[in-house]
Amino acid sequence: MSYQELFPIPVEWLEDADRSMAETVSAWGEQEVKARRLEHKEDYDALLLPAMKKLFLDIGLQTLLLPEERGGGGMNSPEAATTATAVLENVGAADTGIGFVFANSLALQYALAIAEKRSDEALGSAAGVFTGDDVSLVSLVLPGYGTDTGDKPRYYGLDFPATARKADGGWVVTGGPARPQCCGASAAAFAVVCDLGEGVPGVLLVPGDAKGVQRGPAFKKTGLAASANADVTFDGVEVPSSALVLEGMTALRGMLSWYYMACAAVCAGSLQSVHEILQEWGDTRVIKGKGQIFKENPLVASLMGEIGGKMGTSRLLTYNLARMLSKPDVYGNAGGGNLHVTAISAFKQVGRLAMEAMDNTMELMASAGYATEWNLERYWRDVKTVETYVVPETVAETCMARQYFNLKQL
């Protein structure tokens, strides 16, 4: 039985076109990543970049959500949420890091092409970033912990990575060093959440080669080899007024809701490969003297049951979130308080469940799970890195508490 059959989601939410796209991406994963990773491991130039080129350019994910008239894939309606989830699941199954890199791009594509209050001007000026002949990586730069105390506008307690001020018909972006979500060292453009004044958030698209953009050295991290990250400083970077992708809390939260959905899909997709790895191990390993097939041991089986439950739940949660985001007429704006918090909560749950399932799988595979040869450990490192990056635990919890229990001060 296939993973899709084993862990069903409401299939009526997917169109034939979605399924076919997911299959294309799944085939890409097998050929371009899985078949080659024994040889190339996590080599960026030999494995990950060529695979991203095929995925982003040949298959077309780089422009998936942009309107056709702008050279995009034409999926510029909220329905694309389920398509994107089916696609991202398969990207994550191949390589969590590539999935995460795509999630960053997807969030921006959403804000430009689908969001309720999108700006045609911004879309026009940003489209060039996506439609070139080369892979164009996009990096979200979100609010994060700070280093100074004192009163200033903050985003749920986190410091804005930059401020943007109007000048000469455009914007001047100043801030950092800030830690982008991904690709700080390799991004073609940064989507920077800025304080536009008095704490009003906005996202400005800053080209990676703009004057005043300074990237630190690429730093080492636990996982996500596809994302060469580096801290970035914006030293009075001048951008035109069309660089303003979105403005205001609701619009920002809408983009983040899609981002959380995309990251959840990547984590849920990684579990698909973990299932495959554990299945193979469970079928062939023998324990307790001669004869007991690993998976037939009751203690092992109980843990495998839990792992399977986590896989199924992760998938269900992710697709349910996607469905809600795909139907703003029913569920409201992606940036509305309820839906946004549902998105945070779903991502947090999926990330946690994925980590637990992978931790437990590693326990069952002992040294094999820890060796790079079996590939489990790379998903384990990658998903943990996604979990740490996307939204700090404390902020997620505060946002959820505020919405669910009507907090007034935090």
Binding site: G144, K221, G289, S367, T388, Y389
Partner: protein
């Protein structure tokens, strides 16, 4: 200012050498390892950076000698009455710097336990192997038990009774002839000079008399090792395949003899569990140091992270667990140091309790580190902070030595007197 030394230890259990071991270990870690450890991951294959750190710890400071009797150049820890507490202190300090180094260092003593520790000192083998370790270069031993078909079964002495061991030892005249294939021993991959090899003299037998623990110098003809495996962490510990192809060693290279090898091998397990708990304790103490700095320097809601109630909750849980695990470390060390009070180190009770403490400490550590990484956000998975390194490294401490499920079974078996598990 609060430091890691404020984590509790039962003071009456410590060795008279505690202060010296601690100070020497701490200085070595701070000056030689911590400044360079961030590059250890890339050094997994060649150990260009790692080897000099071992050289000073083991060869120059001389810790590799410590288990052997004094008259053979050792420090006599094997008959000191505080082997457990001494080892715990030193392993903690080494693991604070790098738990991969701690395991490589700890395992150097592991097979030697069979011959250097009272009441089963094998004087002839001590005399034979002591000179190997009285050198300025780092010398390692390895404990070769895991085989391709599984490690957990070999450690599952109660139920499986050695019946799955496929490495055979046949006595021909006054020599053992050993054939077999081992996987994963720490300090394989060309590192160790000496192997302690778990063999069977009668394949398929569950009779304890048929389990043999035999020493094999690594340069014995017929003994070959593969290259090190690449793994999620613990770069300082090399692991590989070892093949024994008609390897011949003198008959007196068997550690203790029929029945006794199997019995004292359980003591090896107990000490392995003590080592594992100390590695956890030391690593967590280092995470505490890093976390404390991070939570002071980083701001959230306009004040230091640690001054936010929600963050403080996570910080508190972490400190609570470090404190408990440290107490547990020394409690188990004490139990091993005082068999007159707690029972033999190889008894089922001591083995089961060691398993319990080990998997408690490991489970807690892995969960705690995940939370700490989440609290630190993008910095949690940044190698510059080393927290993620401890997380990757400690995951294997949870998995090795038979894996968690074997721990659960042994604990259930002892406390609930299960008969069939």
């Amino acid at each position: 200012m609060r430091t890691i030394d404020d984590f509790t230890r039962p003071l009456e259990y410590l060795t008279p050498l505690d202060r010296y071991l601690g100070e020497i270990g701490r200085r070595w870690a701070d000056t030689e390892v911590i400044p360079v450890r961030r590059d250890f991951d890339e050094d997994w294959e060649h150990h260009n950076l790692i080897e000099p750190c071992f050289r000073s710890l083991q060869g120059e400071i001389g810790f590799q000698r410590m288990l052997f009797p004094e008259d053979l150049g050792g420090w006599g820890l094997g008959h000191s009455g505080y082997m457990g507490a001494g080892a715990a202190r030193l392993f903690e300090e080494v693991a604070r710097a790098d738990s991969g180094m701690a395991v490589a260092f700890g395992v150097l003593f592991w097979p030697l336990v069979m011959i250097c520790v009272e009441p089963h000192v094998n004087r002839r083998l001590c005399e034979q192997f002591a000179p190997m370790f009285m050198q300025e270069r780092p010398v390692f031993a390895a404990n070769a038990m895991t085989e391709p078909q599984g490690g957990a079964d070999i450690e599952n002495m109660e139920i499986v009774g050695g019946s799955t061991i496929q490495t055979t030892a046949v006595l021909e005249g006054d020599e053992w002839v050993i054939n077999g294939h081992k996987l994963w021993p720490t300090n394989s991959g060309g590192v160790a000079d000496l192997f302690g090899v778990v063999c069977t003299t009668n394949p398929g037998s569950k009779d304890p008399n048929d389990l043999a623990f035999i020493f094999v110098p690594a340069d014995t003809p017929g003994c070959t090792q593969g290259g090190p495996y690449e793994k999620a962490g613990m770069a300082a510990d090399k692991n590989s395949d070892i093949w024994f192809d008609n390897v011949r060693v003198p008959s007196w290279y068997r550690a203790c003899g029929p029945g006794l090898d199997a019995m004292y091998f359980k003591e090896v397990i107990s000490l392995g569990n003590l080592g594992s708990i100390s590695f956890v304790s030391g690593s967590l103490m280092n995470v505490f140091e890093i976390l404390k700095d991070f939570a002071e320097e980083t701001t959230f809601r306009g004040k230091p992270l640690k001054e936010n109630d929600d963050a403080a909750g996570v910080l508190a849980d972490f400190a609570r667990d470090v404190d408990i695990i440290r107490v547990l470390t020394y409690q188990y060390a004490r139990m091993l140091d005082r068999p007159d009070l707690y029972g033999d180190r190889w008894s089922d009770e001591i083995v089961a309790k060691g398993r319990a403490y080990k998997y408690f400490a490991c489970d807690k550590a892995v969960e705690d580190l995940k939370r700490v990484m989440n609290l630190m956000g993008a910095h949690g998975s940044d190698r510059a902070h080393d927290v993620e390194k401890h997380w990757r490294d400690l995951k294997i401490v949870q998995l090795w030595m038979g894996g968690k499920q074997l721990c659960q079974m042994e604990v259930a078996r002892w406390f609930y007197e299960c008969e069939t598990l």
